[in-house]
């Protein structure tokens, strides 16, 4: 009885110790080889094994851990964007160091792990352990430490290759090695598409040379293009481009919000589209009034009811201008609360 008790106690202790014993480089390498694509996925049961370590048996290698999610329910844009970049970071390292060990200094090794939230409500224990509230989050666990020896790595603002480059620089500094360089995976599909497009373009240009000439000399085309460009610019397209604002926001009850209210100096991406439609329609109506109606007048000159048709057409256009302008001012007054010169909405009558 007593021996049995002792035995179970011992087992428990051994189990406990083994679960927090630091993993060695060999164990890491074996796991990486097993997992197949160089990133060790952490679960509730094994995260302490890979991140942990004790005084006697500390962590054998440097570990970079990414806490992220790819679940669409969270709507984490940065996580999704960073996914590919993290892959590039990892593959660049294993490209030069298949065993995960630095060539300069065989004592220094680097491995990558990842903890992902799969579903809302099932937050992995590792998140709780490290008190994480924001993702994506990068934690760096230097070799020779315990589970609580880690430092947080800032995720740079820039996106794409720039971010990976910054992270590599940060990692090089943190580990103290210099043989870590970026390999950008060649994107064959993009090259293929570009080449195909170029070929198609050259082919079309050669084949329809004359047509292209008339197209380029077409005044209407240029007019429409320049007006479209101007409309894009005055509806805040460059603001979206430079600030990288989201397309639309969500309200307090999770509903989609299209217009950022009472924010005079800011906007959502979709506002540009709404505004472009307004400008386009209003401009078209004005052009219709000043060019279309005289043409209509000439066309109907002979008909007896011609004047009536023309008159009605011009009144309709004028009313349409009023309606759109009224709608426009109402949209505007949501942006600037207390705007005093709102036009009366025609639709309010009904």
């Amino acid at each position: 009885m007593r021996g049995n008790y002792l035995y179970s106690c011992l087992t428990a202790v051994v189990l406990l110790v083994s679960s927090v014993l630091g993993a060695t480089v060999e164990q890491f390498a074996a796991e990486v080889a097993k997992s197949g694509h160089n990133i060790i996925q952490l679960t509730d049961s094994n995260y302490k094994k890979w991140l942990g370590g004790t005084h006697k048996v500390p962590r054998g290698a440097n570990v970079l851990a990414l806490f992220t999610t790819t679940a669409l329910e969270f709507g984490c844009q940065t996580c999704l964007k960073f996914e590919a970049e993290y892959d590039a970071l990892v593959q660049s390292w294993f490209n030069d160091h298949p065993g995960g060990v630095s060539k300069e200094d065989p004592e220094k090794a680097l491995f990558f792990v990842k903890v992902s939230v799969m579903k809302p409500g099932q937050i992995p224990n590792a998140f709780k352990y490290f008190n994480l509230e924001h993702i994506p989050k990068l934690l760096f666990f230097p070799a020779g430490g315990r589970i609580d020896d880690y430092q947080s790595l800032d995720l740079p603002q820039e996106e794409g290759t720039m971010r990976v480059t910054y992270l590599i620089t940060a990692l090089k500094g943190a580990i103290g090695i210099s043989d870590y360089q970026l390999y950008v995976p060649t994107d064959w599909s993009s090259i293929g598409v570009t080449m195909f497009a170029v070929f198609a373009l050259v082919y079309l240009v050669r084949k329809h040379y004359a047509f292209l000439g008339t197209l380029l000399a077409s005044r209407a085309l240029w007019a429409v293009c320049s007006v479209a460009f101007i409309i894009l610019m005055i509806s805040g397209y460059m603001f979206n481009k430079i600030r990288g604002v989201p397309l639309a926001g969500s309200g307090p009850h999770g509903e989609v919000v299209y217009i950022l209210e009472n924010e005079f100096q800011s906007q959502y991406g979709i506002e540009t589209q709404i505004l472009a439609v307004f400008y386009g329609l209003l401009a078209a109506l004005v052009v219709g009034l000043s060019m279309g109606i005289p043409k209509l007048n000439n066309y109907y000159q002979r008909r007896s009811d011609g004047t009536f048709i023309v008159a009605v057409a011009s009144i309709v256009l004028a009313v349409a201008v009023y309606m759109f302008f009224a709608a426009y001012t109402n949209v505007y007054s949501t942006k600037q609360g207390g705007y005093p010169f709102k036009l009366f909405k025609v639709s309010a009558l009904f």
Binding site: E133, H134, S152, R219, A220, W222, A223, V224, S226, V227, F229, I230, I231, M233, I234, S235, G236, M238, F239, I242, R243, F264, Q265, S266, Q267, E271, T272, L275, F278, Y279, G280, L282, A283, A284, V286, V287, L289, S290, I293, P294, S304, T307, V310, A311, V312, S314, I315, L317, A318, V319, V321, Y322, F325, Y328, Y332, K335, Q336, P340, F341, L343
Partner: protein
């Protein structure tokens, strides 16, 4: 807006009566035009006077204070002294070669006006000239826009455009009374240059080309934005050449403008040899070469057959292009041509400034524009603008190409940089006026209906029934359309007045506010503090403050500053930023190295003024981090969660920085130990704000907006300053009750 009715009654009696009639109508038109014009100018000037009426005749904001100071210097000294002016009262200890680094057009003009008025016998104070400068020039702008639009369409559109530009908020924003800035004169000159340029292109006259060149010179002397003209005119010519519209007129206009404009612009010391060195000006030079080639080609074209000419052109074009591109590369590579300057470059690669030049990114004038600003600044003109551009395309004359090129380029630039709204506004006015006057041409023209009546009378009541309907319907439709647009015009006037009054008439030196019982009161802390500086500090005292306030300190307090709004030396600015974001002992060293005696910070937490130094603090950190990345780190000022906090959750680095201590020094005690910062909405407790050992509070303005600290001298007993302050504190009790401002709530 009149002038259509002349043709109405032609069929009447003898030729003499007709000519008399025509003369009378022409005379009436002139009188009307002059009357309309007079009222436009009156409107332009009076709507800019809100600032004077609401506040007083005072120079506004930041840059105008420097311009005002420079103008005073110019009036007191000779012109040559002014050009060679070395200002040792700014950028201490470097000083600034002011004469060579400013655009003298504005100061020279107002000094000339001052001298002229004195000659005439009207000795006006130079300050009043500076205050009233912008409104007066707005009237001139209206006239230039009128002339320009006359050349684009006709005088009806011209009058509309003049009326628009007179009151449109986008232009008023930089030209209210007291906003004595380069832009006040620059827009006038922009319009003047374009007016002469269009005239030169239309007539092919050397004289107008010369005038355009001289106006361009004036523009160069007044505003850095002249680069816009330098590129727009060549772009116009390039478009015309591409469209196959080379004419002798174009050759004459461009060459005279270019030759005279370029050599004249090199007279400005600040510009110097830039026109032949910097890439910004290369397009003008390139087009100059190109148009010579076109002239040559034109000459050959007259001689040889079309087919042969085509071959010759193709071959020569290829050769020239290769040589030109190689030459440009070679010259840039050899360093003979300066690379694109940063501010210009940030227009093309919109990320460039954000990454490389924090000082540009920190200036709010370089921010992109969200759409409401466009409507705010031009009301319904903004949707007439695209329509007007489209209508210009329909009868695409040479001058229309110019307006189109202007619209397209400038709308892009404005989208990137909010400041350029100013240059977009005139073209919005012009195109909108074109569109609107086209509509009015059709729908305000009742001559046909009247004329029909005469005809019917002559024919007798034959088709009376039909003509009844034919008369009524057009009349109704015309009334509806023109009536609705006149209503929009009416609304436009109200909008402009409202915007001008609410948004653009604040001098931002004196701030308006309203008390709970609805009375308005003025917050005059800036002037109070600057006046204190002027009266209570030695004349050669050096004041350290963030660069935003440099010009005001120089202009109002007349004290030497370390940095000012002329941000020519990034490192020097970073030094001040570093001092403000360092802990006390470090800051003390830095400030002592620069002989600083007073430090001035803005604090809006008490009255809720958002533009204070703690809100600008991040930029100070960023700018100094750009120079000393290992000493100042932006990360240290954010909490672990990436928040910018100033309450008890603030990081130690934040709490130790002298900016934090100086802003909140004595603030919690004011409310009995815990105070709310009205700007950031956070609670500051007594324990958060550390003691100041090296600095002592010298002055705090009524509403605590400006706080001035004096740097302690070394103790004569050789004790470290921290001990000294403890000792003195023990001796003299703190002022028990701080002055607490009366007004509680302010809007």
């Amino acid at each position: 807006m009149s002038g259509k009715s002349t043709s109405a009654r032609t069929g009447a009696s003898g030729a003499q009566l007709q000519s008399e009639w025509a003369a009378a109508v022409a005379w009436m038109q002139t009188v009307l035009k002059v009357a309309v014009f007079g009222s436009i100018v009156v409107a332009a000037v009076s709507s800019r006077l809100f600032a004077v009426v609401n506040f007083e005749s005072i120079i506004h904001e930041f840059d105008p204070w420097f311009n005002y100071r420079a103008t005073k210097y110019l009036v007191e000294n000779s012109f040559y002294d002014f050009l060679n002016w070395f200002d040792d009262r700014t950028w201490y200890p470097l000083g600034r070669v002011t004469g060579g680094t400013l655009y003298p057009g504005l100061m020279t003009t107002s000094a000339a006006v001052w001298h002229l008025l004195r000659r005439v016998g009207l000795p006006v104070d130079i300050r009043n000239i500076c205050v009233m400068f912008a409104p007066a020039f707005a009237g001139v702008t209206a006239y230039c826009t009128y002339k320009l639009t006359c050349d684009i369409k006709d005088s009806r559109a011209g009058l509309l455009a003049a009326a628009f530009i007179a009151i449109v908020p986008g232009y008023i924003s930089r030209s209210v009374a007291g906003s004595y800035d380069n832009e006040a004169i620059a827009i006038t000159l922009l319009m003047l240059t374009f007016m002469f340029w269009i005239k030169a292109v239309k007539r092919g006259s050397i004289l107008f080309g010369t005038c355009a060149g001289l106006c361009y010179f004036y523009m160069v002397s007044a505003w850095g934005g002249y680069v816009f003209i330098t590129n727009l005119i060549p772009f116009h010519v390039f478009c015309l050449l591409l469209m196959g519209r080379y004419t002798a007129k174009l050759y004459i206009a461009y060459n005279t403008w270019f030759v005279i404009g370029t050599i004249a612009s090199m007279q400005i010391p600040f510009v110097g040899f830039l026109p032949i060195k910097s890439n910004d000006h290369m397009s003008a030079l390139g087009i100059f070469g190109l148009i010579q080639v076109f002239a040559l080609g034109q000459f050959i074209k007259q001689q040889v057959s079309y087919k042969k000419f085509k071959i010759i052109t193709a071959v020569s074009l290829v050769v020239m292009m290769v040589v030109g591109v190689l030459g440009l590369f070679a010259l840039t590579y050899m360093g003979l041509i300066a690379p694109w300057t940063g501010r210009f470059y940030s227009l093309w690669d919109t990320n460039y400034a954000r990454i490389h030049i924090p000082i540009i990114a920190s200036v709010s004038e370089h921010q992109p524009v969200a759409w409401p600003a466009f409507f705010f600044d031009s009301h319904f003109l903004i949707w007439l603008f695209p329509a007007g551009v489209f209508l210009l395309f329909m009868d695409l004359k040479d001058e229309h190409v110019f307006i189109i090129a202007y619209s397209v380029l400038c709308s892009y630039f404005t989208g990137v940089m909010v400041r350029l709204m100013l240059t977009l506004t005139p073209v919005i006015c012009i195109t909108a006026a074109v569109a609107l006057s086209k509509i009015f041409d059709i729908y305000l023209d009742f001559s046909q209906i009247l004329f029909q009546e005469d005809n019917d009378d002559a024919e007798g009541g034959k088709k009376n029934k039909k003509s009844e309907g034919a008369k009524i319907w057009p009349l109704v439709s015309k009334l509806v359309v023109s009536g609705s647009f006149i209503f929009y015009l009416y609304l436009f006037v109200y909008h402009c007045t409202w915007v001008t009054q609410t948004a653009y008439s604040s001098p931002s030196v004196v701030l308006p506010s309203s008390t709970p019982d609805g009375r308005t009161s003025l917050i005059d802390d800036y002037r109070e503090a600057y006046y204190w500086l002027r009266m209570n500090t030695p004349e050669d005292a050096k004041v350290a403050a963030w660069w935003d306030y440099g010009y005001q300190i120089g202009g109002m307090a007349d004290r030497t500053t370390l940095v000012d709004n002329n941000t020519w030396n990034n490192t020097h600015i970073a030094i001040v930023g570093k001092a403000l974001s360092s802990p006390e002992d470090r800051a003390y060293e830095i400030l002592k190295e620069h002989d600083v005696e007073y430090v001035l910070v803005m604090f809006g937490g008490l009255i809720g003024f958002g533009g204070d130094d703690l809100n600008k603090f991040l930029w100070m950190i960023r700018i100094s981090e750009g120079i000393w990345p290992e000493e100042i780190r932006e990360r240290d000022f954010f909490t672990d969660r990436g928040e910018y906090r100033v309450d008890s959750g603030a990081t130690p680095t934040m709490k130790n920085s002298i900016m934090y201590k100086m802003s909140y020094h004595g603030f919690p005690e004011l409310f009995g130990g815990e105070a709310q910062d009205r700007v950031r909405g956070q609670h500051i407790t007594q324990g958060d704000v550390g003691e100041l050992h090296y600095f002592e509070e010298a002055f705090t303005s009524t509403n605590w907006m400006v706080r001035i600290y004096k740097i302690r001298d070394l103790d004569n007993e050789g004790r470290p300053l921290s001990q000294v302050s403890a000792a003195t504190k023990a001796k003299s009790k703190r002022r028990a009750a701080q002055r607490r401002p009366q007004i509680e709530l302010r809007v």
